[in-house]
Subunit: 185 residues, 2 copies
């Protein structure tokens, strides 16, 4: 089960390392005078998981109501023989209908990108149906792992969504994000 390994790898190789340090990283960013993240309930990594696994590299190209602001301070860790490997998070402003900005640390779940590309490589023998099933399994497995992780509590928020209707609304993605942010604010 491909998704099972990807969920564990995402947790072990990334979330378990970075989530415990996230609030401090945001605090450092704010201390430098960047007072955009006012609401501490949103001091989390918001992880986008579109069911289609079509992951944009630049979110603002997906929806003009999303604007990249800056990266948080780098997290630097010696890992598996790579010295000073760098882990980064990006801060975005997401504009609502009243053009007010809502700030959050946001990124897509990179393993879904692997699922997408596997479904395009004939050698992988992995169909579009397999991919949808594995995307859901990835989410369920990751949710179970994180529900049981004390180190990562309250430092993340999953935004899983069915983006099959996304093409019809140029602001589909910002609306999905805002709905989740407003539940926290």
């Amino acid at each position: 089960n491909v998704a099972h390994g990807l969920a564990w790898s995402f947790y072990i190789g990334y979330l378990k390392l970075v989530l415990p340090r996230l609030k401090d990283s945001i605090q450092t960013f704010c201390d430098k005078g960047n007072f955009v993240l006012k609401c501490k309930d949103t001091w989390k990594l918001h992880i986008l998981m579109p069911l289609s696994c079509t992951i944009p590299d630049k979110l603002e190209e997906e929806d003009s109501n999303i604007e990249f602001l800056d990266n948080l301070p780098d997290i630097v860790i010696d890992r598996a023989g790579v010295r000073r490997r760098v882990y980064k998070h990006s801060l975005y402003a997401v504009y609502d209908d009243a053009k007010r900005p809502h700030h959050c640390v946001l990124e897509c779940a990179t393993p879904l990108l692997s699922l997408y590309e596997m479904s395009k490589e004939s050698l992988a023998e992995f169909s579009t149906e397999d991919r949808l099933e594995q995307a859901k399994l990835f989410y369920r497995t990751l949710k179970d792992i994180l529900d049981n992780s004390r180190d990562c509590r309250n430092s993340y928020r999953f935004i899983m969504y069915d983006d099959s209707e996304a093409a019809e609304d140029p602001h589909f993605l910002s609306k999905v994000i805002l709905k989740h942010l407003q539940q926290q604010e």
Copy 2:
């Protein structure tokens, strides 16, 4: 099959991105006056894969004949909403019995670290026997993928080894690496 997904993810999310750029990155490093990598046949990413999946974060702590020299220039890519994500490779000197240094770009296969940690987390229901089987499957799957990858040809070398005897020889790891390097020099 956990290893199947990890191998594909390692190729799609890492090797396919970095290996085509590796020779240029080494060239830039040499142009700055660092003339250590003289033999172009060794201008490859040497990927260590110990069967036990016990992956050290600092290789020199494993074997005093291995010395970290420097990192190559960063590879910076916008990926899945993370802006300017950084990919790094580390350059090492590996000393032989005659104390001569042999230089190479070296790291461990990070997904094996995930397999190791999964075998330690009870929630993953993944035994030490599963882990050994999956480590071998990871290697076989990755080898198949890379044998078929035109973009990555000649830019990598797998160093898979059974490290069950490693504890008895403080220079086990450097000898394993040197055997592979000497086949290329």
